[in-house]
């Protein structure tokens, strides 16, 4: 057998988690329908984990019914989490992978509960699974010229300039050790912790997790100076380095 035939890799996958608080299938489905109607493209065949952590106990019938209804709604159910109270006896009948309960999730649930929830039956959250697997950093040593586009699945480092009319995109952070005159988009898969750093801010556009700012607005904040761009409470902040 040759080593080159295949490779086993760890990978980070962003999924939607359906946290079930109260197992009332009809109410959950109704709530889901409303959420899906708001952003149908986002939910179309979206990988979904059904999380029963917060439930006291789950019967196989209601489990099967909920999974079936989720699939009817166009969600790709890829696994489930058992209630904290104990793994159900019908576990092997489920024919779906049972995922381990994330230990750090309890805290999140509590903080969520203190906030007034719009729908107590359904909470949809996007979480990044397997946090410890990191993507390699992409390194660019030459100027990124007008018309060129660079995409990095992790962080991106440009040891030169990004010209006007060029575009750099990264799922993680973007570091530019020269002038940023083009467009820089960090956290394009939704990472709100991503940041953009540059030696001279002259950008046409900067964006973190879809929140963007254009050159006109940037000129009033920081221009032709070192800058970092980060997201604070869903608002873009540009601060000096």
């Amino acid at each position: 057998m040759s080593d080159t035939d295949f490779r086993l890799k760890g990978s980070v996958v962003t999924t939607v988690v359906l946290e079930v608080r109260c197992l009332n299938v009809e109410q959950i489905v109704q709530g889901l329908k409303e959420k899906i109607a708001q952003v149908p493209q986002f939910f179309n065949q979206a990988p979904l984990i059904v999380d029963f952590c917060a439930c006291e106990s789950v019967s196989y019938e209601s489990f099967d019914q909920l999974i079936g209804r989720c699939r009817e709604l166009g969600l790709a159910v890829m696994g489930w989490r058992a209630p904290e109270s104990g793994i159900p006896s019908w576990r092997t009948d489920a024919l779906l992978p049972m995922l381990p309960n994330a230990s750090n999730r309890k805290l999140n649930i509590k903080s969520e509960e203190s906030a007034p929830a719009t729908d107590p039956h359904v909470v949809i959250k996007t979480v990044v699974e397997e946090r410890d697997v990191s993507q390699p950093t992409k390194l660019i040593t030459k100027p990124v010229r007008s018309g060129q586009q660079i995409y990095a699945p992790g962080d991106l480092i440009v040891v030169s300039q990004v010209s006007a009319g060029a575009e750099v995109l990264a799922e993680g952070n973007i570091h530019i050790y020269g002038a940023l005159r083009g467009r820089a988009l960090a956290g394009i898969k939704g990472d709100t912790q991503a940041r953009i750093f540059c030696r001279s801010m002259e950008a046409e556009l900067v964006s973190v997790a879809g929140n963007f700012m254009l050159s006109d607005a940037l000129q009033n904040i920081i221009w032709k100076d070192t800058a970092q761009v980060l997201l604070v409470d869903d608002a873009l902040e540009i601060v000096s380095l």
Partner: protein, 269 residues
């Protein structure tokens, strides 16, 4: 093996053909066997600038299609020894240039010449890409204004990604910036980008700065490369650029505002 130099810019009207003619002539004056190829198929201009339009019989496309041999097609310059011109076809379009055909012609020229200067058409489409594909050295001609600088930046990206050297992973094309139509007075008035501004944006070494000069238009209309006019600042600036291309050190000239003398002011010169 000849060194292949492409003179390119992205934007039209910045002085590619004028610069190709001047630099090609300058190299020949220095004793190097040089040929200038007009890649602007369909918009043949180089022959006019070189003043050999009446001597064009066959053209580049004829050679590619093997309808004529190189020796039948090459026009030997009457003023400058060591210099030949390969004119473009006026009746065809850029599709007549095939990579195999261009490569075969360049290989044949390589055996006879030291330098092959490729005068690129404007734009970033096939004609321009053919002109730069086989290049070892690129001279990027830029005017001191934002749109020209932006287009030059674009063409630098193409040089890095779509040239033969880039595709084969060889050492990258040697890039030089040639700033043309430079007017120091308008720069000091803030109407034009300065040498430093353009260098900062493009981040490639400067080969020369050619001042805006009436001598350039006059030379073009007379069919004489401006480098042969050693009274004109533009001609001298091109000579300096050729020297720098050959690895010599030359200080930059004609980039500062000149104070007008008493008589000039009096006479309104």
């Amino acid at each position: 093996m000849a060194k292949i130099i492409v003179v390119t810019s992205g934007k039209g009207g910045v002085g590619k053909t004028t610069s190709s003619a001047a630099i090609g002539t300058g190299l020949a004056l220095k004793g190097h066997k040089t040929v200038i190829i007009d890649f602007d198929v369909g918009l043949r201009n180089l022959d006019l600038i070189m003043g050999c339009e009446r001597r064009v019989v066959y053209d580049f496309v004829n050679v590619i299609n093997k309808e004529a041999t190189l020796s039948q097609t090459l026009i030997k310059d009457k003023r400058t020894k060591n210099l030949s011109i390969l004119p473009a076809s006026q009746t065809r379009d850029k599709d007549a240039l095939t990579p195999e055909g261009v490569e075969a012609v360049l290989n044949e020229l390589s055996e006879q010449f030291d330098y092959i200067v490729c005068d690129s058409p404007a734009g970033i489409e096939k004609g321009a890409q053919m002109a730069l594909y086989f290049a070892d050295v690129a001279i990027v001609v830029t005017n001191p204004e934002v749109s020209s600088v932006r287009d030059s930046d674009r063409i630098l990206g193409i040089l890095q990604s779509k040239s033969r050297r880039a595709e084969k992973g060889d050492s990258p094309i040697e890039e030089h910036l040639l700033l043309t139509r430079y007017n120091p007075e308008r720069v000091s008035d803030g109407e034009m980008l300065s040498v430093e501004d353009v260098e900062e944006i493009l981040a490639i070494p400067l080969l020369g700065v050619i001042p805006e000069s009436e001598a350039v238009l006059k030379a073009s209309n007379q069919g004489t490369p401006v480098i042969l006019d050693n009274q004109a600042e533009a001609g001298l600036a091109y000579s300096d650029a050729v020297d720098r291309l050959l690895g010599e050190e030359r200080p930059l000239r004609f980039i500062d505002v000149q104070k007008k003398g008493f008589f000039k002011r009096l006479l309104g010169g």
